[in-house]
Amino acid sequence: MTRFNAWNVFKNGFTGQKSWDRQWRDPVPKKEYDIIIVGGGLHGLATAYYLAKNHNKKNIAVLEKGWIGGGNAGRNTTIVRSNYMMPGNHEFYEHSLKLWEDLSHDLNYNVMFSQRAHVSLFHSPGARDGAARRYNIMRLHGTDAEIWDLDTLKKNIPHLNYDDARFPIMGAAVQRRAGNARHDSAVWGFARAADSLGVDILQNCEVTGVKRSQNNIESLETSRGTIKAKKIGFAVAGHTSVLWQMAGLGNLPIESHKLQAFVTESIKPLLDHVVVYGVGGAHFYISQSDKGSMVFGGDLDWYKSYAQRGNLPIVQDCAEAAMAIMPCLGRIRLLRHWAGVMDMSMDGSFFICKTPLSNLYLNAGWNYGGFKASPASGWYFADLIANEQPHKHIQNHNLERFEKGINIDERGAGPDPKLHG
């Protein structure tokens, strides 16, 4: 594969851009693999990449029912941050942020990671105290975090509604190393890097059945034939329950909900940060893409659904939130909005764990946070599959935590999936 570097860009500039290789192969499925990852999204591809890179595994396949980048990898608001405080979560997300910081070099693919700061506004003394507590916990664990007073905020982001907001802006909790990345580049970069290490990426290959014995999975029925594997990992967030039941494993602590994202027409540079409205209360996040579009999102659609299309009351909610903090957006036109189906788990935290079957491993339950988590998700999931032993940072991110009473409930919202936004 042609590496991306200055010389190759220069050379192709003189040869009509015709000598680039394709980014990943389109192999014919083999009858058997050592490891199969079901789900060719960011998490599945990152897992395959780190299995090959960190653990020197060969003979790996990633099965994708559609095409690379066509699922939730292309349906998110691209925010990367690590402002978590629960044990396990802060180590995990900080590790993920560190992987993001070097990801473009690591993958030889520009994922356009931009550490433009993540600014969470607060609107009351109580919310400020809550934010200070959370961000102090982050500092104690070595993550960067700071509180901006109103003057600092006004200097950095001058065009928020400081005049007549229904909930006056008092300041913000800020993580400077956070920001966003280009979602397509991340998923294409992982696919290309995994492929160059020998991973077979099988697109249009939907799992239609699971053949199992008492204790393990023998083979997968797919739309491209039967494929055997020694080890199998599920990384199909959104549809985890469907696949889990196909394997005859019953219920999961997961509900599928849909979350919308919105993109406006392109405008001149307006917003240099990721701004979040609603530390406690409403929920809204906005940033500006490199093309100039405002990218934003808000709450879930509030009812369980597998439909990849959003409802209109949420469009109104998000538009109202946008107007509440940035009235200057009043005349901007919305170009697109779409919904992604997500695993909302019972405590708002993810699963990277072993399962009741000896050769099946689970990666699921990403809630709102799947995009930023994807490098670490692949890193720890690959570690689990290769070493058969959960890393200490994810030792409680399993299906047994609910019965043991060690829920990892970052928001303290209780066992109702739709509340873990």
Binding site: N251, W302, Y303, K304, N311, P313, E403, P415, K418
Partner: protein
């Protein structure tokens, strides 16, 4: 917008309602072992297709309703009040 036919108020936008959750959950007896309570509280079938779920008519008559709805198409098959005694009242109304 989903339209829900409330048995008391008639057909209304779903934005008048609050989504509850899975209506098929049966809670075990109070002295049942913890594993049974764990299953009832935390584990869900998460059906892809027709499922029974609860909705609260928060900005209406405030009845809790049991709705049969497809999680793929959002089509609603049936709506009734959760509490069986309520039916007498709603029947008289219609």
């Amino acid at each position: 917008m989903i339209r829900i036919k409330c048995p008391y108020c008639g057909e209304r936008d779903h934005s008048e309602f609050t989504y509850g959750g899975d209506a098929s959950i049966k809670y075990p007896s109070l002295d049942a072992p913890a594993s049974e309570w764990t299953k009832a509280i935390f584990f869900r079938e998460n059906i892809r297709g027709m499922q029974k779920e609860t909705w609260h008519h928060t900005n209406g008559c405030r009845l809790w309703l049991e709705v049969e709805r497809s999680t793929i198409t959002h089509e609603i098959k049936s709506v009734k009040a959760c509490h069986p005694q309520i039916e007498k009242i709603t029947k008289n109304k219609s």
